[in-house]
Symmetry: D2
Subunit: 327 residues, 4 copies
Amino acid sequence: MNTFGQILRFTDFGESHGPAIGGVLDGFPAGMKIDFDAVDAMLARRRPGQSTLTSSRREADSVKFLSGIFEGRTTGTPIAFIIENTDARSSDYDELRDTYRPNHADYTYSVKYGIRDHRGGGRASARETAARVVAGALAMQYLEEFGISVKAAAEDNLEEKVKAAKSSSDTIGALVSCTIAGVPAGLGEPIFGKLQARLAFAMMSINAAKGFEYGDGFRAADMHGSESVDTPYVDSEGKVRMRSNHSGGIQGGISNGEDISFRVAFKPIATLPRPVETIDADGRSKILSVRGRHDPCVAPRVLPVVEAMAALTIMDAVLIAKASAHL
Amino acid sequence: MNTFGQILRFTDFGESHGPAIGGVLDGFPAGMKIDFDAVDAMLARRRPGQSTLTSSRREADSVKFLSGIFEGRTTGTPIAFIIENTDARSSDYDELRDTYRPNHADYTYSVKYGIRDHRGGGRASARETAARVVAGALAMQYLEEFGISVKAAAEDNLEEKVKAAKSSSDTIGALVSCTIAGVPAGLGEPIFGKLQARLAFAMMSINAAKGFEYGDGFRAADMHGSESVDTPYVDSEGKVRMRSNHSGGIQGGISNGEDISFRVAFKPIATLPRPVETIDADGRSKILSVRGRHDPCVAPRVLPVVEAMAALTIMDAVLIAKASAHL
Amino acid sequence: MNTFGQILRFTDFGESHGPAIGGVLDGFPAGMKIDFDAVDAMLARRRPGQSTLTSSRREADSVKFLSGIFEGRTTGTPIAFIIENTDARSSDYDELRDTYRPNHADYTYSVKYGIRDHRGGGRASARETAARVVAGALAMQYLEEFGISVKAAAEDNLEEKVKAAKSSSDTIGALVSCTIAGVPAGLGEPIFGKLQARLAFAMMSINAAKGFEYGDGFRAADMHGSESVDTPYVDSEGKVRMRSNHSGGIQGGISNGEDISFRVAFKPIATLPRPVETIDADGRSKILSVRGRHDPCVAPRVLPVVEAMAALTIMDAVLIAKASAHL
Amino acid sequence: MNTFGQILRFTDFGESHGPAIGGVLDGFPAGMKIDFDAVDAMLARRRPGQSTLTSSRREADSVKFLSGIFEGRTTGTPIAFIIENTDARSSDYDELRDTYRPNHADYTYSVKYGIRDHRGGGRASARETAARVVAGALAMQYLEEFGISVKAAAEDNLEEKVKAAKSSSDTIGALVSCTIAGVPAGLGEPIFGKLQARLAFAMMSINAAKGFEYGDGFRAADMHGSESVDTPYVDSEGKVRMRSNHSGGIQGGISNGEDISFRVAFKPIATLPRPVETIDADGRSKILSVRGRHDPCVAPRVLPVVEAMAALTIMDAVLIAKASAHL
């Protein structure tokens, strides 16, 4: 449940205010020289406090690798790493021990587990995604060696939207686009290995994601077949190409050599900077004013998380393709 | 890659014009009396030739169970079944042996596998989904014993849209809504076991699906937090409920006891009832007129497939919840 | 639970007296020309009634492939097959409906499932292993292309032992040796992917297996380190070899290029050709005389099953090695 | 490959001389109060330097839990932990950077990965098993709540054997017996979920294990059916019991309520306290005298490892049984 991937398997652990969050990345081929600065740079993009758009909470988010690396190279054994939780003001959360925040996982975790680390959202905190970014940063370096790149982008008017929300003591959703370029034709599998299904799973596993679409996406529901056809042709280098990309780079679950493009819709940050009505664990109504430092929008901090999950998905597909190469 | 689920594992096999398609459903608990008529009825809803909206091809789609059932009850061992392919006019497809149909899996399968059963789409044919319906029909019967029901519905104006497309020698996309009612709070897992991620994976594994959303879905990207809050309260029976259902029945990846609601966007049927430009396996341009019988729209035949995949997902979550019950 | 392997995944189904047994072999690379006669020949070695050592029951054991093969070659999609049960005298087993045969799975299945197909042992019948042989026969053909062969052999004095057991209305155990030749160095994984652990799992999943050992095996428990050392050297072709093979071809879980050798101990056939004391489902003591046709010893019929499971294990390791090839 | 189990999944990481070894235990039910002293006590039994039988190397082996525990109880989220490597004299191993120790994983790792952390055996070091013991200690506490206990024991004359080997500058193998008491009937699954197959896999994944047997084990190969029958009866409390336990507590892959008993054969410690002949990475012959501190025998330190792997296997079977409970 906390492991992602089939051949490249990422296991994620940790609570927001425990000693550390982290992960184990298993199945990573040996011999890759790691660019640790690039890992830090990707992690920095997810860090709070980096701009006026994000919360003022400082998280050092310094990653410490524990295994799977020798003299700067991957060894083929599991790459374990931790990010220690240093700036945890747990007392900020005392009121939440017995209170269910609306639109959070507090109630559902309580029902499911009967016990809950309430501090900072515990396991349900988005802080967990920092571990995904570390794993994804390594996957991106692997993909670069194959000429594959991953780039997520928020809508143009994000800064404006966020400022407006902030000024009205509110939060706001976000739409994120992502393009995976340089993917060769032939990645992905039929039926339950379809690339779009794996990408959808990857994206919908991110906190606050409410929708996923690729290629024409939801617009396709209202289109005619004659409008959405991608006509194949052979380019001047003898390569099969498509004259358009309604398919979003995937046909029959398998990449066709065009850019893979998809979009993810995120809901507004659930923690509102204003009093909200809710109930406590005994079912009593109460008004809750959440303290602590919170972002008004998942973007831009969610962008490296989207890239990380896309990179893990595509790298896994590369390894699967190696295993299933035809005779 | 052809197996779906974690504890309830459905393995799917078969090509459109091979001897049979079918599946193996492993992990199904013993002792359930099977309503075979209900299986047939659900399969009949996926069958072509049933209305003016669908193709005239007849598929008997008679399912034959091979194992896992004794005296009408499940035994806890794998339930294998086949649906024989009886009405296969393979010669209809001779031209497609070396031709890549646009927006189909022909080119990508050829790159990936170097060999391809071209007859009727082979493995990439939507005929494969009949096996999913059989497995899903059994899962629905299991869920009924827990008071859980699954119901998919196409948009209101479907019949009109389809007729218009048909009359203009075109095909059309579809938007399908699905509601899962009666789900108790506490199903699903955090992180990579999130119920919405598993549902997204299940839906995006269906042929022609281009997008998935749940609850507020893509609209959430433009909403404010204050607009999308589900306020909890305790109802007259002492049960925790939500005053609205922006969350679509899932919070933190775990069901909250409200109806689970999601929507799936499907692209237009890729096979157009008119000549289309394409290339053959040698890269030569050609005009292709596909013979054979094809639907103008995936709906309404896709509805039982959506229900089947939802039922398999939820039943798996029920079994996982049993395994992980807290002390 | 009914699926074996990680990249090459074999799912096995069927009861002894149901309509058919069979399997689905997923992850098999595309493009391999299948030698169907070799499949039949391997299946024939497992068939009863072939010699004085085995029972007189006839099983046609004719395999019918349903998918994954096109014009004689594998397509990369799941290879499903069935073997129909034709010679099933279910009435032979009526007495067993409510009786627990000693040393069989009757009691444990009843406790676990609450329902049981008692006819011919149902799911617990060794007839299930015929499906393994079909899958294994395909894996052996794949391995041959890499120069890898698998050969199991029973002890020298088997025929004598079996005749003696038969003449005293008894059954007898068997010790089976198996050698996998031609395995390149580098197959297998550390920790939970150790080749010996996977082979042990494969062998101990066969009915009646009671022990597994490789290389020096149980003798190693009484040996000194100085007696069991395999000294490496470089042969005239520049290849690293070992001067002895105490390690059985595996070091640190990974093949070292020497022959892999292991042994499996099988218990006597549990069904005795004489009256035995037991209880029925209500706990009443009774004397049971089992009718039906039964072998006195698992060997020689178990040999192709051992080979099949070894071949599936090694082919899976080959595919994993492809996926994890270092940069 | 570094993950063990199906519902209870243990992922293991770390090299002998890296910053830390550790693991992630996922799928552990919420709400269990942890006895940390019992974890330490089990870990202490695996620690070197504890008796004259073991090496003088000190390993603090102090476990630090990072997640999955809140106020002393399991939360249902992944339990991650590390054991820091504090007493690592890496310079002891400089000579081994380019030398293949006989009967170790040095050569096979080099072939497989092309890179190798040579310090202290790296990933192939038995130090890795300390992480298994931590996970196993938690599983044992869970099993205790169900009345299940696990106990491994070495042969009677172990101390004598080890002393003799030490005095002759040699090492020695060991035979370990293990009994799992209190297991209810009905745990385990048919075919590839057989309890004996899972136990064999678990045991053969331990460094130096060369053989596994359960119940009558290898002796069964020479026994007659009439000698090995376990006759069922109903005891004074109405419980089905067996008059003997040739089956070792498992029939048809499923526990029958009797004690589960198995034995594991371990080879002599591969590192000999004397010069040995070998080759270096360039294929040149050399005489190697390994420095460092090494045990003469895997026992008694391997006993808690055997218990840990047995406990993880049985706890996983308990959780699977919950999921598959019949209607």
